[in-house]
Point group: C2
Chain length 337, copies 2
Amino acid sequence: MKGTVLHSPGDVRFETVDPRIEAPTDAVIRIAATCVCGSDLWPYRGLQPIEGPTPMGHEYCGYVEEVGSDVTSIEKGQFVIGSFATSDNTCPYCTFGYPSSCAQREFISRAQAPFLRVPLADGTLVATREAPPEDMLASLLTTSDVLGTGWFAADAAHVEPGATVVVVGDGAVGLLGVLSAKQMGAERIIAMSRHESRQELARTFGATDIVPERGDEGVERIRDMTKGIGADSVLECVGTNESMMQAIRSTRPGGHVSFVGVPHGVELAGEELFFSHVHLHGGPAPVRRYLPNLIQLVLDGAIDPGKVFDLTLPLEQVAEGYRAMDERRAIKALLQP
Amino acid sequence: MKGTVLHSPGDVRFETVDPRIEAPTDAVIRIAATCVCGSDLWPYRGLQPIEGPTPMGHEYCGYVEEVGSDVTSIEKGQFVIGSFATSDNTCPYCTFGYPSSCAQREFISRAQAPFLRVPLADGTLVATREAPPEDMLASLLTTSDVLGTGWFAADAAHVEPGATVVVVGDGAVGLLGVLSAKQMGAERIIAMSRHESRQELARTFGATDIVPERGDEGVERIRDMTKGIGADSVLECVGTNESMMQAIRSTRPGGHVSFVGVPHGVELAGEELFFSHVHLHGGPAPVRRYLPNLIQLVLDGAIDPGKVFDLTLPLEQVAEGYRAMDERRAIKALLQP
C-alpha cells in the first residue's frame, strides 16, 4: 500500500509503505481521515533538516483493523482517535497530565497513509461508543492534534471567564486557539491576522477583534486596546522569535503566555522575561489528556472545529495539499484515503 | 545625616544625605533596622554598571517620622514595613497582585541610612498595631524583601502540600525559599548548597536533603533522588545562566520553575524550554501583596526568618557588611542605625 514520504524540501511522494503490528501493544488502524499540519511545513520548506526519506503525518482517526496480543482496551472495528504523541497513560508524566512527555513517548509520523501502526494503543487511542456520522469526521480529526494544540494554548495561557485574550498566529492552531478561548469563557478575543479568509474564520470561532499589525506595531495596538495594560492571556501559535516577543510584550504583568509550536530560532533574554512578570508555559500539547472532552464536545455539536479545513483532497494528492498550505492558498488540507 | 553611597565597585561610603518629604504622598521613616541585599553585590562587584555615586539599600522597617499632606493610612510614630518597590496599591497591576510592577513603581534605593523617604506611603507601607518587641526586628525586616522574595519564589514555583521542591542558590533568598516551601507544606525540600553554615541553616528552615553538586552534576543528582522524574517545583534564587538551566533541567514535565533574582547573562533557548514542558514565572517579588501575611507569621512566632542574619553591624560600618557578604564570610548583614 501507499503512504506519504518527504524526500527533500518540496519533494512529497506517495509511495509504498507497509504498516503492520510490530509489538504486542500496537494497533493498526484504517485511516478515515488525515491531514497536513502546519508543523509539516518546517521540513517541507527546508527550515528543519530531515535525515533521508521521512514518512509524514501525525493527525489521524479511523477504524481499528488489528490489535497486538497485549492490547485490551480497544478492539477491531472500533472508531478511534489518538494523539500525535503516543503515551502509556500510566507513567508519572502521564499521571501528572503530560502524556506528550510520556516516558515511552514516540511521535507518530506515518499517518498520511491509508493504514497506520499506532504504538501503545491502549494508552494512546480513545474509542467512540459507535461509528460517528460521516459529516463529523473532519471535526473529530482535529482533536488528534490541531484542536488539542489550540486547546492547550488556551489552557496553558490560563484563559478564564471574562479574560482578555490575544492569539498570535492565524494558522489552524491559532484559529482553534480562538475557538478554545471562547469555550473557556473569554470575554474579549483578539486575533492577530492579516488574511481575510482567516479573519473571517477567527470571527466565526469567537474572535471579537482583529488586529493585522505585527511585531512592535502589533504590541502597540494591543496596549491601546487594553488601556495600556496588556492582555491577560496570550497564545503564541507561530514559533518564531518575533511572534514570541510579540506575545510576551502584549501580556500584562501577572498574565500568562503559552507557546505551542516547536520554537525555531527563539532565544529569550532573561532580564526582559523577568521584568515582564508574565507566566510562560508551553510544549508539545498533552492532547491525550483533552481527547475525551474534546471528542464529546464535537459529538454534542457544541463546537465545529472541522471548519479549519478549507481544502479536501484524495489522499494520493497529498503533495498538492502541502503546496496549497505552503503558498497559504489553504488554511489546512484534509486528506481522504 | 549620613547614608550609604556606592561610588564605584568595592567603594562603599557612609556620607551625608538628606531625606525629606518631597511629594505630599511621601513619608519619612526613622529606620529601626536595614541590611545588605545579595542584589547589592552585583554593582559592588562591578557586574552591573552604575552611573555615578549611587545611594544604596532597599530593605527597611522603622518608625514614621513625618508624613506628607496627602497621606491618610499611616501616621507619625507607627512602626511600618514596606517593599523594596513602591506601589499605589490601586492601579490595575496592583489589583492583579503585582504591586512590584505598579504603574507608579519606584525602586527604593536609600534605605541603608538612619532615615528614609518612602514615596506612595499609603500604598507601600504596612503598619503594625503596636511597636514590635526588639527581638523581632530582624525577622520583621526580612519581610521587606528577602523573605518576601523567597516566598514569591515558592509561590511562583507553585509549591503545594506534599510537593518535592528544589532550591537552587544558598544565599539568604534561597534559604528563605526553603522556609517558605516548608510553610506551604512541601514534603521534600532539597537545598543545593556546598557551604556548611548555609546547609545547617537550610536544615533549620526545613530542608530535608542537601545536594552540593552544581550544573549538570546537580541535575543528575536531582534526577537520581526523584526516580528519574524531576522535582515538582524548583526555585531559582541565583540569577545566572547556569543556575537557570540547572533549575529548568531539574524540573519534571508540567512542573514549575520560579526565578526571583534579576537575571544576569541569561538566554533561554526556546526549543529546550518547549520540550522541558515546565512552567516558568518570575520577576521582582510582589512583596507588598505578601506583607500582611508575612508580618503576622513573624508576630505569631510561626517563623523566624531573622536567622539569615549572621552578622550584625552598626550602620556606619556598612562597608564591612558588603565586604563580609562579598567574601561569603556572612550570609546576610543586619545594620543598626
